[in-house]
């Protein structure tokens, strides 16, 4: 394709609207989804030569024809097609936002989180099964099965049922987190989807989630070294942070906070914004960060949040206050041992810290983290054996 190559990102933005239009016309979800994929292939083939004036209209028409072709090949579907042709055109009900409903469908509570993520990436995000499989490091056939099972699960769900926006946000959050460590850039995809979702609903938590994504994504270039090892926040080269994304994230967050309907994503984004705002690690406003963690504890009552709060308390009020905040928590929490090791190190108890880092390394859930903790343990042991504390 030459200069007229189709912009795949913009093409993918049209997918949820097209898919929703077909389902509203009475197409079943699974066949409609296949038809939309077919139409996309045709768009990529023909648009470089002749771009339609109304791309979405073109896609709906083409996808609908594809759907009819697919439906005709199946007698059971032929009956449904007849029914549809006799149905009156959609009434006022169709004015509710179809794209948002598609998000709700893909995040339906009857799906497991893994299936909801896969279906969202495929149906709303327009990624191919191969791309999704690569992102999750599973064989393509495995992912194809996961997606088609998910489609069967939601095939009986009517698109006009109101969904739970929180589940949708949860799914996008999972997509983003996966992309933080994976090879295929699911983080960028989650951001694209969150932007799109923000245009279809005015819930401040959607803005909060988008701001959170942007603020985390801004730090990504500084987060790992060339060999894949982790760089802790305090040691990151802040010159590598994406200032444009930070500015955008903060602006979106401020607009959301001004509407005075606080939720957990806005609070998380506020913490990320306070980190992003500091010119050096020492300038970080830990007192305010602790206040936001207090809000998060109130909103979620999550033990993981309490753990993160204890670390922030350690920075704001000193390591002993941090250890006191940690004392009431369950030692089985993820990263409890690593946090305790860090606070003991800061409190000057090097021997205990070294022992806890070794223990934390054995519990680490990913290789970069394990290597990082092992290295810290080794550095502390070296200090102990050389006599300097």
């Amino acid at each position: 394709m030459g200069a007229d190559a189709v912009d795949e990102g913009r093409l993918r933005d049209l997918i949820p609207g097209v898919l929703a239009a077909l389902v509203h016309r009475g197409a079943d979800f699974a066949t409609a989804e296949d038809a939309v994929q077919e139409a996309l292939i045709r768009a990529v083939e023909t648009w470089p030569n002749r771009r339609p004036e109304d791309p979405k209209g073109w896609l709906v028409t083409t996808a609908w024809r594809c759907f009819l072709d697919l439906a005709r090949s199946d007698t059971a579907r032929r009956r449904r097609e007849l029914l549809v042709s006799e149905e009156p055109p959609p009434g006022p009900a169709a004015t509710v936002d179809e794209t948002l409903q598609l998000y709700f469908l893909c995040a339906h509570p009857s799906l497991t989180p893994a299936s909801a993520v896969a279906l969202t990436l495929r149906a709303v995000g327009g990624l191919t099964t191969r791309q999704i499989a690569q992102a999750y490091l599973v064989p393509e056939a495995t992912m194809a099965q996961r997606i088609s099972r998910a489609k069967r699960t939601v095939s009986e769900v009517r698109l006009d049922r109101p969904g739970d926006l929180r589940t949708v946000l949860r799914v996008l959050y999972l997509v983003f987190n996966e992309g933080y460590s994976g090879d295929v850039d699911l983080a960028a995809e989650a951001i694209r989807l969150a932007r799109q979702l923000a245009t279809t609903t005015d819930d401040p938590e959607v803005a909060g989630l988008l701001a959170l994504f942007l603020l985390h994504h801004a730090r990504r270039p500084a987060r790992t070294r060339a060999d894949g090892s982790l760089v802790p926040l305090a040691e990151q080269d802040r010159g590598l942070w994406r200032r444009d994304l930070i500015a955008e994230g903060i602006a979106i967050l401020q607009a959301a906070l001004a509407r005075d309907r606080l939720g957990e994503y806005q609070a998380q984004a506020a913490i990320a914004a306070l980190h992003a705002d500091a010119q050096t690690a020492e300038e970080t406003d830990w007192v305010q960060i602790v206040e936001w963690y207090d809000e998060l504890v109130r909103l979620t009552d999550s033990p993981v949040v309490r753990l993160n709060r204890a670390v922030a308390v350690g920075e704001a009020d000193g390591p002993h206050a941090g250890l006191a905040a940690l004392a009431g928590l369950d030692p089985k929490l993820p990263r409890y041992t690593a946090s305790s090791a860090y606070l003991h190190e800061r409190a000057g108890d090097i021997a205990t810290a070294a022992r806890l880092y070794v223990e934390a390394a054995a519990q680490a859930q990913n290789l970069a983290e394990r290597n990082h903790l092992t290295l810290r343990a080794a550095a502390l042991r070296q200090r102990l054996s050389s006599g300097g504390v």
């Binding site: 090892s229 070794v358 859930q365 290789l367 290597n371 092992t374 290295l375 080794a378």
Partner: protein, 135 residues
């Protein structure tokens, strides 16, 4: 070409020659070890002999069916007595000799004192599907 699985053990393998646990190495020794492992995998990718490799968490459990309507039995996490696989790498090589040669190289990864660990690695050939055409 034939595929082989190289297995590294946490427990259960015969003792290595340079048998000092990693948590007693210096940071420089750990970094040298990690670099060696990364370089090894990168070299096999370049030669087209690398398939996949993963590290495994140190805990594991034995699990067994316990009869109709009952949850599976497990021996619980952190059982102390069994073999535990630390990680694996799959290679796709021309011969068994090449698989042994590569496993030997991997076993020479530097450990305490910057000297090779000489750890024991297990080399297991994959069973393959019967050929479509037999002669």
């Amino acid at each position: 070409m034939a595929k082989y699985l190289l297995l590294k053990h946490y427990r259960g393998a015969p003792a290595a020659v340079n048998d000092v646990p990693m948590d007693q190495w210096t940071p420089a020794e750990i970094e040298a070890h990690l670099r060696y492992m990364n370089d090894f995998a990168a070299r096999l990718q370049d030669s087209g002999e690398y398939v996949d490799g993963q590290a495994l968490a140190p805990e594991g459990a034995w699990v067994r069916y316990d009869g109709e309507g009952k949850p599976p039995v497990t021996d619980g996490p952190f059982a102390e007595t069994k073999d535990l696989i630390a990680g694996w790498m799959i290679i796709d090589v021309d011969s068994y000799e090449r698989a042994v040669e590569l496993a030997g190289e991997l076993s020479a990864a530097p450990g305490a004192g910057g000297k090779p660990i000489h750890e024991w690695l297990e080399v297991r050939p994959f069973l393959t599907a019967p050929p479509t055409v037999t002669e």
